[in-house]
């Protein structure tokens, strides 16, 4: 077990470092920063959905809350360190409240999805109506549909004048993603993570073993929201403006598509799915012939039909095949699972 964990961490660090340093050679760092931010957002849903079995349709709400918290706190405080921390804590606290309400209320999966979606749409609608001067938090005007521009960007902690944008922002965001990825890996290896996976597999059985699943799901939900909030703050620092569209239906739907296409139940899959699909979207955005959402929908349908487990498990299988099949991923289930899946 110990050796496995060390090898896993080592592999993630090496692969992560290679990608972080290598990708700028072939792509623009401005775009890469966005891919990294969305990768982190997808990882947050990949954690709670893929490993905790919590299908949250409104992960965008926590992403948006993180972005708005960063912007509002930045305007009021000036230096970005505390706003960045708040951008993690505020969404996490909101998720803890919402999660406690849902999990202690024993809501079924469908209601959970609906409530989280509605939660994000309420924030979307409400923030869209906050145009007047009456809507201020401290010195920050919420700005209605136009959102909040002109807040302080991410800076080197303690030095408000050293703002990070362009290449440095990319490296900071990418390093943050790698750290979050390692923390998620560690969490999943811990007892808490292993029991969370047990809850995904069979909630009733785990509670009959004496575990309080409501509390555990609430905590996991809050952790996922914290990660989404951090992604939101990094997004705000990248976009230099936050608008209500962060909470929109399209944003929520895309996160789910990223996870499915990338590979649910894996750590790397959602990150990969987000990066690839966002890249596709940016490339398609340059032309006017086909609608973007149409392409996203088509990709989703094709994956559900032909690669239901997503890109990452298939890559792992390919890797196992190339290296002679000594590694375990995916192959075990192939003989009997194949017919059942189809």
């Amino acid at each position: 077990m110990q050796g496995d964990a060390r090898r896993d961490t080592g592999l993630a660090v090496i692969l992560g470092a290679v990608l972080i340093l290598g990708l700028p050679l072939i792509a623009d760092t401005n775009m890469l920063t966005l891919l990294v931010v969305y990768g982190m957002l997808a990882l947050s849903l990949g954690l709670i959905w893929g490993f905790g079995g919590i299908l949250c349709f409104g992960q965008a709400a926590f992403f948006g809350l993180g972005a708005y918290t960063f912007a509002i706190a930045g305007i009021n405080i000036g230096e970005s360190t505390l706003p960045l921390i708040l951008a993690v804590l505020v969404p996490a606290a909101a998720a803890a409240l919402l999660g406690a309400f849902m999990f202690y209320g024993r809501l079924g999966d469908v209601y959970l999805a609906v409530i989280t979606l509605v939660f994000s749409l309420i924030l979307f609608r409400w923030l869209s109506t906050t145009a007047g001067p009456a809507y201020v938090i401290g010195n920050a005007r919420l700005g209605g549909y136009n959102g909040i521009p002109g807040f302080p960007l991410l800076n080197v902690p303690g030095y408000p004048r050293w703002e990070l944008w362009g290449d440095p922002l990319y490296y900071v965001a990418a390093a943050a993603l790698l750290i979050v990825f390692l923390l998620v890996s560690w969490l999943l290896r811990s007892s808490f993570g292993r029991i969370a996976i047990g809850i995904r597999e069979n909630e009733e059985r785990v509670s009959l073993l004496g575990y309080d699943i409501r509390a555990r799901k609430t905590v996991l939900f809050a952790i996922g929201a914290g990660i989404a909030g951090l992604a939101g703050a990094l997004f705000a620092a990248w976009a230099e403006v936050v608008t209500p569209s962060l909470f929109g239906l399209q944003q929520s739907a895309e996160i789910i598509i990223w996870c499915i296409v990338g590979g649910l139940g894996t750590r790397f899959g959602p990150v990969l799915g987000a990066a690839v699909l966002t890249w596709v979207k940016i490339v398609l955005g340059g032309q006017g012939a086909i609608d973007n959402m149409l392409v996203m929908g088509l990709i989703l349908v094709l994956f559900v039909l032909f690669l239901p487990r997503g890109i990452a498990p298939e890559l792992a299988r390919l890797w196992g095949w190339v290296t002679g099949g000594t590694r375990r991923p995916a192959r075990r289930r192939a003989p009997r699972g194949g017919t059942a899946d189809g």
Binding site: I195, I197, L209, G210, Y211
Partner: protein, 238 residues
């Protein structure tokens, strides 16, 4: 006399107009083996669910080791040291046998001790050959055995089993009987069961349910000889 570990007082469960369990008072002592039997719809499974917290009784009270647990959530009851196995085998399908049993042990010990405990239980139940296999791929009998492993790993002082022998082969039933008898060395075991042969092989005190009430409570041999019980089971003369 050993201490009473499980006691109910006038336990009643109504579903609308239907009274599934009607004023049942039970007493089970430490390390006792008790079977709850009765024809379909007699209320034994409903009574079982009230004991482990899956149903909140309409009336009456439940005590575990002297502490009132009426209306507690299942996880709190299980956390007291009560091992529960439901009728339909319920395990974590996507995880391995080792992971499943580890999770049961982890509840009351640290991660490392739980790993040792899981190994011990796997040896005890002869699950070594399939320890790394995912539960979803195992046969019914193996899954039942793993679920007993979950119960064992909890080191319980009270074990509640709902139809543990259902759908098993004769050989598996015999092994199940051995495991249950072994459990009574450290825990009181309450078994809800249908299979009369299995109950006879356990040779324990039997509580017979009929229409939500306790009909008789006696040793299995005397219960089997009881003409009223025969009538209830065969549906004659009632």
């Amino acid at each position: 006399m050993a201490e009473t570990v499980l006691e109910t007082e006038g336990l009643t469960m109504r579903f609308g107009g239907v009274v599934a369990v009607d004023g049942v008072s039970l007493k089970v002592r430490a390390r006792e083996l008790r079977c709850l039997i009765g024809p379909n719809g007699a209320g034994k499974s409903t009574c079982f669910k009230c004991l482990c917290g899956l149903l909140k009784p309409t009336e009456g009270r439940v005590f575990l080791r002297g502490e009132e647990t009426t209306g507690w959530d299942p996880h709190r009851i299980a956390a007291l040291g009560v091992g529960i196995k439901m009728q339909v085998s319920s395990v974590m399908d996507g995880l391995s046998v080792q992971e499943n049993i580890w999770m049961a042990a982890r509840r009351h010990m640290d991660a490392r001790a739980a790993t040792d405990k899981a190994g011990e239980v796997i040896d005890r139940l002869a699950l070594g050959a399939i320890a790394r296999a995912d539960l979803g791929r195992l046969a019914h009998g193996e899954r039942q055995r793993v679920e007993l492993g979950l119960v064992l790993a909890q080191d319980p002082w009270l074990v509640l089993l709902d139809e543990p022998a259902a759908g098993m082969t004769a050989e598996e039933v015999a092994r199940m009987g051995d495991i249950i008898r072994e459990m009574t060395r450290t825990a009181a075991v309450v078994v809800v069961e249908h299979d009369m042969q299995f109950i006879r092989s356990l040779a324990s005190t039997v509580t017979v349910f009929h229409r939500g009430r306790v009909l008789v409570e006696d040793h299995v041999d005397r219960v089997m000889a009881d003409p009223v019980v025969r009538d209830v089971y065969l549906g004659k003369g009632a």
